[in-house]
């Protein structure tokens, strides 16, 4: 899908927006920006799943830290890339920042998942150490 969209970015922009005051220069600049957004799409999709995994683990602080970090990274990278690559650099900064922070968050999520197993294992060990529960009142005792 990404390859198709990147290959046909210019005709797509022309088809969707090309009329009236949207001239050839507008079309070229918009298509270049679109390509810069799109090339990172195959890596942004897994980054989104990683972000969802943090929600699934209920790690609120990590969710907030992740979103602030990705914004700061985007602005920082944008400032670096803007001078050399103009609008293309600005658009690319979003993708690069999302992927870098996504990788960092993946490590944090996997570490949190390991803690999940440790606590689950500890609970299981505790359960085996405890004496068996007495039968509840009214439960027939099998003989």
């Amino acid at each position: 899908m990404t390859i198709l969209l990147v290959a046909f970015a210019q005709p797509l922009v022309h088809l969707l927006l090309g009329s009236g005051r949207f001239d050839a220069v507008s079309e070229r600049v918009t298509a270049e920006s679109l390509v810069a957004y799109l090339v990172f799409l195959p890596l942004i999709a897994p980054a989104s799943v990683i972000a969802r995994s943090v929600y699934a683990l209920g790690l609120l602080r990590l969710i907030v830290a992740q979103s602030v970090l990705v914004l700061v990274a985007k602005v920082g990278l944008g400032l670096i890339l803007r001078d050399s690559f103009q609008h293309v650099g600005v658009a690319a900064a979003s993708g690069v920042a999302t992927i870098i922070v996504g990788a960092v968050v993946l490590v944090a999520a996997l570490r949190a998942a390991r803690d999940l197993r440790t606590s689950a294992a500890a609970e299981a060990d505790l359960a085996t150490d405890l004496p068996p529960e007495p039968p509840h009142a009214g439960t027939p005792i099998s003989t």
Binding site: M1, T2, L5, L12, V13, L16, L17, G18, S19, G20, R21, F22, D23, V25, S26, V29, T30, A31, S33, L34, A36, Y37, L38, L41, I44, A45, S48, V49, I50, R52, S53, Y55, A56, L57, L60, I63, V64, S67, V68, L71, K74, V75, G78, L79, R82, Q86, H87, V90, A91, A93, S94, L106, A109, L110, A113, R114, L116, R117, A120, E123
Partner: protein, 317 residues
């Protein structure tokens, strides 16, 4: 109904609902692209559109940040079962709308002073004439703060009431009204046609949302109980985290405008068009995968099965 059959029935119903909501979201993005086409035709990649986009970022930031702070808590407080609980949920929803609207009016008054400062912060390198234009447009857009904020509150209540159809259909109203207004009035009003369209669109969306709430059994007639602060005590949620996340989401868009403000005129508009097309493409590519993955990730996290969770995250199965 047998337990297993019940589970299968509920799973397929949830899948159908997810598909339906995703389809409506895709339609909503389609209508947004229609609005972008009208803007492209009328304004191209002009400095006027750059100024408008900076102004609208300021207004969205002011409106969404405080109102989304209520969102999570509102869902929890209004998601109820049983007659007694639903009366309490309706009272909470009613107070959230009443008190929220009053708060948004106060925020709007404060925005008269804050908006010009924020315009200069978001687009520091834009030419001084464009900054003045953006400040004027931001002042004209101030009523949108109330409309956007009320809509966020309505959305929280709709999700609490499991009204996913309404919450997915209503966001189509604003871009549709803007499309019609810009198409018909841009020759007469210029960039102010876009301002008018945005005001009418978001206003109508909020009003229709309130009508839906009334139809759900939440009375919104003007009386003292509409501003009952005690009913808001039920709203407990991660308000600070929610508002930080909302602010970051708004600043994410503003960051492009901040960075592009030093580039030649029209680049802010070009990045905005590209980002709208990209958003439509990514909603198809990403939302489906992430929507399917999330329940499975949540299930394995809740069950404490790290192996399954890690495998899902690494290999997708």
């Amino acid at each position: 109904m047998r337990p297993l059959a019940d589970i299968v029935y509920r799973a397929s119903r949830d899948r159908r609902a997810t598909l339906f909501v995703t389809l409506l979201t895709v339609i909503s993005y389609g209508v947004t692209l229609l609005r972008e086409r009208a803007n492209a035709m009328a304004f191209g990649t002009s400095g006027d559109l750059d100024a408008y986009l900076v102004a609208v970022s300021v207004i969205s930031l002011i409106a969404i940040t405080p109102s989304r702070a209520l969102y999570e808590g509102l869902i929890l407080a209004t998601a109820s079962r049983g007659q007694r609980e639903s009366e309490a949920a309706a009272a909470t929803a009613r107070a959230a709308v009443g008190v929220g609207t009053l708060a948004l009016v106060a925020v709007s008054v404060a925005a008269l002073a804050a908006a010009p400062v924020l315009v200069r912060l978001i687009a520091p390198d834009m030419s001084s004439s464009r900054i003045l234009e953006a400040e004027e447009l931001a002042r004209s857009l101030i009523p949108m703060i109330i409309a956007l904020g009320v809509w966020e509150i309505v959305r929280g209540v709709l999700h609490g009431y499991h009204e996913f159809f309404s919450s997915s259909v209503l966001p189509i109203i604003a871009p549709l009204v803007t499309f019609v207004t810009v198409t018909t009035l841009n020759g007469v009003l210029g960039i102010h046609a876009l301002v008018l369209g945005s005001l009418l669109g978001t206003g109508l969306q909020a009003v229709v949302g309130l009508v839906v709430l009334v139809r759900l059994g939440i009375p919104l007639a003007l009386s003292r109980s509409l501003f009952d602060l005690r009913s808001l005590r039920a709203i407990q949620g991660p308000a600070t985290a929610s508002s930080i996340l909302a602010a970051v989401a708004m600043l994410w868009v503003s960051a492009d405008r901040f960075l592009a403000s030093s580039l030649p005129e029209g680049r802010i508009a070009a990045l905005n068009y590209a980002s709208s097309i990209y958003a439509a493409a990514s909603v198809v590519a990403i939302t489906g995968t992430a929507t399917v993955a999330f329940p499975r990730l949540a299930q394995s996290a809740q069950a404490g099965t790290a192996q399954a969770f890690t495998s899902l995250l690494k290999r997708g199965r």
